[in-house]
């Protein structure tokens, strides 16, 4: 992969860096720019040694964000694990999760359902599914992600459900 000129690299990766700093590390907006600047200084100094700029910019902004929090004795990562994440560590819950996924699949479009079925219930990887559908793994990954989000949305209790539960 060619390393772009600094200006082009900046245009190409700026939004990605800011997204990661803001969303992943919760860097306050006022400080995001300062981190992007530090990343650019490092990039300018060692750009001759970089073969894959996307990896470099992601690695560098993650590193800079962690350092930012460390310098403030703060918590560089997310907060507590969610209940759902914690449940995943429990092997007993795996079967239940499978059943739940099967139920959720029924609420989706045919394309999303097929892909999620292949991935979660039949164990195909995104790459294998891509070969099967003659598309790219990235597109399959996106479909999986999209399908899961739609499934998750369909699980959210509507206002009507909340009202009747009282």
């Amino acid at each position: 992969m060619d390393v772009p000129a600094p200006e082009k690299a900046y245009r190409e990766y700026r939004d990605l860096m800011m997204t990661i700093a803001r969303r992943r590390f919760r860097i306050p907006p006022d400080h995001v720019l300062e981190l992007v600047h530090d990343v650019m200084v490092s990039f300018l100094r060692c750009r001759n040694q970089i073969q894959n700029p996307q990896r470099w910019f992601v690695g560098a902004i993650c590193n800079a964000s962690r350092s930012w929090w460390t310098a403030r004795d703060g918590e560089p990562h997310f907060g507590e694990m969610t209940d759902e994440t914690r449940n995943l560590a429990d092997p007993v819950g795996v079967m239940e999760r499978r059943v739940a996924i099967g139920n959720l699949l029924a609420t989706l479009s045919e394309r999303h359902r097929d892909i999620l079925d292949l991935h979660y219930l039949q164990g195909y990887t995104a790459r294998e599914i891509a070969v099967r559908y003659n598309t790219t793994p990235k597109y399959v990954a996106k479909l999986i992600h999209q399908g899961l989000r739609r499934a998750a949305e369909s699980r959210k209790p509507s206002d009507a459900t909340i009202a009747t539960s009282f």
């Binding site: 900046y10 720019l33 995943l88 990887t125």
Partner: protein, 418 residues
């Protein structure tokens, strides 16, 4: 990916590159925090509004441009300092301390490293003195930290080649301390880890050396510094070779040889592969890899590097008693040093041959070789080299030639300044 954690940097990269594994996708679904992040990334440009975002690039470019301009202006001054360091005269007194001058001196240190490590060390020390005199208010803190770290890293590299390994480790400590102060520190720290591993390898502290190469390799990979990954893997293989683990070393080197490498990297891989295959008893393959490496070295204009690597292989063959393969190779190397008129190396190879011939009980052949050299040197200005060859010859004539004599002559040759 452990389920109890959020997406790691590498998971994120996999997602961006379109090759996320099942657990990453599962996590993206089950973890709201990560889903939000991935959504934001997927739907770029994001809605985050940061006024004057271009200012970050402008500030970075401006400070870089200033140092680059200083670098241009201080080139003559830097050359004068390097020349003074080379001949041991007093340093020019009117040096203007600037970050550009530090960079120039560090560039010279890197250029001189393999040719003259002592001069490389003096260049790095000079850079260090300029750095102390620098008006720090003129520069970004991060730029000062990079220069400090790089200065100490170059010192560590030179100290390693000078055999001052413990001092090299102290220089690594100082480099790491400077790099650690930076916001983006990991790639620089990985470079330090690499240098530290080379020092520990020389000190035979092989396990920590190997751990450090793995650490460096992981960071270089995460940061897309692929050539550095290759270098770390080559270093790992040499550590394994020194540890007597030729099989694992060979496996790493064979993996590397399949990759599209830079020519010089390929030559180093093939060279190390020749040692690994030799250690597992495949002399034929070892010679084949070594010859391939030598061709690349020559094509790349690194003839001496190639000759030295073949020479190391020949010595290894000799020590493992593969006489039939070792002698022709040594003789060829000797002839090539002769063609390049590098007398010291030519004579050192001759001493290796002499030692081997003595072990095999052929002092007469050894004497013939010496005679040929003496005849050639007779027409040249006297120097320490013919004297040593003559000493070797007279030792043979008086039947007093022993391994100890050869070792003593070799030592004399190596300690005499060139």
């Amino acid at each position: 990916m452990p389920q109890s954690q959020h997406l790691s940097d590498l998971d994120l990269i996999e997602w961006l590159e379109g090759t996320p594994s099942g657990p990453i996708i599962t996590h993206a679904y089950t973890c709201t925090e990560c889903a939000v992040l991935l959504d934001a990334i997927d739907t770029r440009p994001v809605e985050i509004q940061i006024p004057n975002a271009e200012a970050a690039l402008e500030r970075a470019m401006e400070s870089e441009r200033e140092i680059e301009s200083e670098e241009q202006k201080s080139r003559t001054e830097s050359d004068a300092i390097v020349q003074a360091l080379r001949i041991g005269s007093a340093l020019p007194s009117n040096e203007q301390a600037s970050a550009g001058l530090v960079r120039n001196l560090l560039r010279s240190a890197r250029e001189e490293l393999s040719r003259d490590p002592a001069l490389a060390l003096r260049c790095a020390d000079a850079a260090s003195r300029v750095l102390v005199a620098l008006d720090r208010a003129r520069y970004e803190t991060q730029q000062i930290d990079v220069l400090q770290g790089e200065t100490e890293k170059e010192r560590a590299n030179a100290l390693r080649l000078l055999g001052r390994f413990r001092e090299g480790l102290s220089a690594c400590d100082a480099a790491e301390s400077a790099f650690s102060r930076m916001q983006v520190s990991e790639p620089w720290l990985a470079m330090c880890a690499y240098v530290r591993a080379t020092l520990l390898r020389e000190l035979d502290e092989l396990q920590p050396a190997r751990k450090l190469t793995a650490f460096a390799s992981e960071i270089f990979e995460r940061f897309g510094m692929e050539q550095r990954v290759v270098h770390s893997r080559i270093l790992e293989s040499t550590i394994l070779l020194r540890d007597g683990n030729a099989l694992e070393a060979r496996s790493i080197l064979e993996d590397l040889a399949r990759l599209p490498l830079e020519p010089l990297d390929r030559a180093f891989v093939l060279n190390d592969l020749s040692f690994a295959t030799l250690q597992i008893g495949r002399v034929d393959l070892a010679l084949q890899h070594s010859a391939q490496a030598a061709v690349i070295f020559q094509e790349m204009g690194a003839t001496l590097e190639g000759l030295r690597s073949s020479w190391n292989l020949a010595k290894a063959l000799l020590s493992m008693n593969h006489i039939k393969a070792a002698f022709p190779l040594l003789d060829e190397i000797r002839s090539r040093f002769a063609a390049l008129e590098i007398r010291e190396e030519e004579t050192l190879v001759l001493l290796d041959i002499a030692e081997g011939l003595l072990d095999q009980g052929y002092p007469e052949t050894c004497r013939e070789l010496c005679q040929a050299l003496i005849a050639r040197y007779a027409s040249e200005n006297p120097s320490h080299v013919p004297r040593i060859v003559q000493a070797l010859d007279s030792a043979i004539r008086s039947d007093a030639l022993s391994r100890a004599t050869v070792s003593d002559l070799r030592r004399q040759l190596q300690v005499t300044p060139r």
